[in-house]
Amino acid sequence: MSVVLTAILVLLGLALIFGAILGYAAIRFKVEGDPIVDQINALLPQTQCGQCGHPGCRPYAEGIANGEPINKCPPGGESTIQALADLLDVEALPLDAEHGEEKPKMVAYIREAECIGCTKCIQACPVDAILGAAKQMHTVIVDECTGCDLCVEPCPVDCIDMVPLPTTPQNWKWDYPLPPQQLIATDAARGQAA
């Protein structure tokens, strides 16, 4: 009987000691902020376009951290979904068509002859990529434009177009080779059966 009691007391004592250590560690090594949000935010494309329904990329990162689906970001597309799935260890879902579809990289282009200088697009641009002043012609700084579309809607004279970035020798990419041909007919049949 006394053996059992001793064992219980020893275990209880150990539990108290370790509990105290853990409790101290929790206070001493407390991590400020929510690093998972930062990690998620780092994977998002930072276009700040709001297509996910949040006012910017960071709010969506917070939303994902709170369990929102990871497939609401059309500018990021498949690769972002894949990266988020890897980070959060969840299943990669196909892009939610409700929020838009993956498009090639676009930049805004102002037809300058039609611009009336109302500054509405300047106020809409989340990254200050539009240059201009009241009653002065506006223009887009192509290198800073994220292609978020937000300037198109406020324009009262509809002079903003979204144009795909042209391919130049500087940003051209080698293609992957075509997949190897099926040389042996039975291979193809086997592939279908499997």
Binding site: K120, N171, Y176, P180
Partner: protein
């Protein structure tokens, strides 16, 4: 003579057929002067050069056409004299076949040099001055990659250069440009090496040449003589000519992964680059020509030419006896690392060392790729000791993290693995695609980080502005409250001051205590003031009117008298009414700065005067007097403007703030309808004007009136549609 230095071996490597003798039979020939030269602004690694000439300019041979844009960039010079005919997209020798911005030069056939500044004794010059000369001469590596030479020479300024390596390997099949240069221009090359020795002051200079070029070796040995440099001969193997491979062969040291030769105290330069350095320093000539190999079975007389940069490829091929019907594939560079050209009108650029015009037998289409059988031959052939097979699998699976871990970026894309692959898998193409993809992803991440910063800074700015506005609003509210309290206190005092004056209706805002007589006097004073102001205004319009001046003087006198009478009537005890009125008015209105107001009024008056004079002047354009007046009025306007600015600066009232209005998104249909309405309105107005004009000129306006009616109908319709739409939206 046996080379005294020890040589090492590199792992892997292959021995493809050399095909070098075809193009070495005719020596070095000058290429004919082309009619048109195309000079792409990007012939080097780094930023595109910035043109400094314009279309139509006449330029001389060697004149600067485009200047370097940043540190890692290269200027561009005119290869011959002539006229600039275009600056814009032009054919460009690139694997993509895309056009690139270029300067097009129409040769005048005179080939007239600009003034050159050769240096006879460079040894007295500071190395930094020589580096700048090399940079200004537009020299970028002529071996193939095209990295700006001046940047490469001082890549690691803190690291002392122990070994200068001259790359005369030229290991790729078919190419003999460096071989030819060494055979016929050995003395110039050695002079170029001496310039580099003066700049870098290395402990050791090694000239590496493969043993399949005996003539070049002999010529170089003779030119070197007893100088402090060594010609090192080593066995032929592809790809010994890679910079990192050559360093390993000559010194046994390996360039660390991701590092530069400069990290281990080495600088490696190509033969062609040395020739260019010689020309730049000793002759003062910028880089405008290079030695290019023209070879391949589709050419009648394969040879090496000294061609001007920018010469169209088709001109060179015709010079070498092109047989168009036999040409199957045209490659720039060699068969292992070159790329297929799509446009024969593209020019040769600074890095074009070879044009290979192959027949179908010579460069057959690649056999279809088969499955990898994991034989491992590729790993044995790889000179960088990578695992090509693993890289292939990861590239197929697009596993970019694994590719980076397997050192994909140490791959020099030499093509040895593809060459030995029994399944004919185009391995290098996978690596190139994967590298491009990884670079694109990294660029995108970099941009995302950049946009994030900009977004956050913008948010911070907006918040700061909002806080500032809130603070100002609070300050205004406090001030208003203070003034209100003061006014109430005054109002409480006022009834005590004039309790007996029962006749006065005691208006709340007015200062109490003015009798009827006093009021009349006040009105008279104000009227007199107004008359003075009016006269002043007229005077501003006609400054020379003597009569008006006299009138004003009289009026001013009358106004002063009226004011004095009024003040006398109200008594010395009462404060001057103007001040009192101001004090009582202040709480009700916004704060007013009298000086500012006056300045604004003056400006408006001056502006009106100028406008009036301008109008008059259009009626009688020949009146000198009017013109003089106008000039005077304009100076008055400018002065008034200045005064206003000064008053604004001096004024305690902040300039009016613009308010940002949040606009609710407009749906597609509403916007369409709005646009329609606005357009209909505009059409109607135009028609109306047209009718009026026609009527004034007494013309028949019936057709126009019909148009007016129809546009009015259209306008009504558009207005109705818009109203209906808005109504239906409100119902929803």
């Amino acid at each position: 003579m046996k080379s005294a230095i020890r040589i090492w071996d590199i792992p892997g490597g292959i021995h493809p057929e050399e095909h070098k003798h075809e193009s070495t039979q005719r020596g070095l020939e000058p290429a004919p002067l082309p009619k048109t030269l195309i000079l792409p602004l990007q012939q080097h690694i780094g930023a595109r050069a910035e043109p400094v000439v314009q279309v139509g300019d006449k330029v001389l041979k060697g004149q600067l056409l485009a200047e370097a844009n940043g540190i890692v960039s290269c200027p561009l010079h005119a290869p011959t004299s002539g006229t600039i005919t275009a600056i814009g997209p032009a054919p460009y020798p690139h694997a993509s076949g895309l056009a690139e911005l270029a300067i097009t030069l129409e040769a005048d056939g005179l080939d007239q040099w600009t003034t050159l500044a050769p240096i006879s004794d460079y040894r007295t010059l500071d190395p930094a001055v020589l580096l700048e000369m090399i940079r200004q001469a537009g020299i970028s590596g002529l071996g193939g990659a095209g990295f700006p030479t001046a940047v490469k020479l001082k890549a690691r300024p803190e690291q002392k250069t122990q070994t200068l390596i001259i790359n005369g390997t030229e290991c790729e099949p078919y190419i003999t440009a460096d071989d030819t240069a060494m055979r016929y221009k050995a003395a110039e090359i050695v002079a170029g090496i001496e310039i580099l020795m003066h700049i870098l002051n290395p402990d050791q200079v090694l000239i590496g040449i493969e043993d399949n070029k005996p003539e070049a070796i002999a010529a170089m040995r003779e030119a070197v003589g007893t100088r402090a440099m060594q010609v090192v001969v080593f066995p032929t193997k592809y790809p010994s000519g890679g910079e990192k491979q050559l360093i390993q062969i000559l010194t046994g040291k390996e360039v660390p992964s991701g590092g530069l030769p400069a990290d281990i105290g080495m600088v490696c330069q190509n033969i062609g680059t040395l020739l260019a350095i010689h020309d730049a320093v000793l002759l003062g000539q910028p880089l405008i020509k290079r030695i290019t190999t023209l070879t391949g079975a589709a050419l009648g007389r394969p040879t090496n030419v000294e061609a001007l940069i920018g010469t169209p490829i088709i001109d060179l091929l015709q010079f070498a006896g092109l047989k168009p019907d036999q040409l199957y594939r045209l490659v720039m560079g060699g068969p292992m690392m070159g790329f297929t050209l799509q446009d024969l009108n593209a020019p040769i650029i600074k890095s074009s060392n070879c044009l290979l015009a192959g027949t179908r037998e010579e460069l057959p289409p690649p056999p279809p790729a088969q499955a990898c059988i994991r034989c491992g031959l590729c790993a044995e052939a790889c000179p960088a000791e990578l695992l090509p097979q693993q890289l292939h699998w990861f590239a197929l699976g697009k596993d970019y993290d694994q590719l980076k871990r397997q050192h994909l970026f140490d791959c020099i894309e030499c093509g040895a693995c593809s060459y030995v692959c029994p399944s004919s898998i185009p391995l290098v193409q996978y690596y190139r695609a994967a590298k491009a993809e990884i670079r694109a992803i990294e660029l995108q991440q970099h941009r995302a980080e950049h946009s994030k910063q900009r977004f956050e800074q913008r948010q911070a700015r907006l918040q700061r502005e909002a806080e500032q506005k809130e603070l100002e609003r609070q300050a205004r509210a406090e001030k208003a409250a203070r003034l209100k309290a003061a006014k109430e206190a005054e109002a409480a005092q006022a009834p005590k001051q004039a309790p007996a004056d029962t006749e006065a209706p005691a208006p709340v805002a007015k200062p109490a205590g003015l009798s009827d007589e006093q009021k009349q006097l006040k009105i008279a004073a104000a009227t007199a003031q107004m008359a003075v102001k009016k006269a002043n205004k007229q005077l501003a319009a006609n400054p020379d009117n003597e009569e008006l001046k006299a009138q004003i003087a009289e009026l001013e006198k009358a106004a002063l008298e009226a004011q004095a009478a009024f003040e006398a009537a109200t008594g010395g005890a009462a404060a001057p009414p103007a001040v009192r009125a101001e004090a009582s008015d202040k709480p009700a209105r916004k704060p007013v700065d009298e000086n500012l107001k006056k300045a604004k009024l003056d400006l408006a008056m001056a502006r009106a005067a100028v406008k009036k004079l301008e109008r008059e002047l259009t009626a009688t354009p020949d009146s000198d007097e009017l013109q003089q007046q106008l000039a005077q009025a304009r100076t008055t306007l400018q002065e008034a403007e200045k005064a206003l600015h000064a008053a604004e600066d001096a004024s305690p009232i902040p300039p009016p703030e613009r308010e940002r209005v949040e606009k609710r998104p407009v749906d597609e249909a509403t916007r369409q309808l709005k646009t329609d309405l606005a357009m209909a309105k505009a059409a109607f107005k135009q028609a109306e004007r047209a009718v009026k004009d026609a009527q004034e000129q007494g013309q028949d306006a019936s057709a126009l009136e019909a148009e007016l009616a129809s546009s009015r109908a259209a306008l009504d319709q558009a207005a109705k549609a818009f109203a209906d739409h808005m109504a239906s939206k409100e119902k929803v």
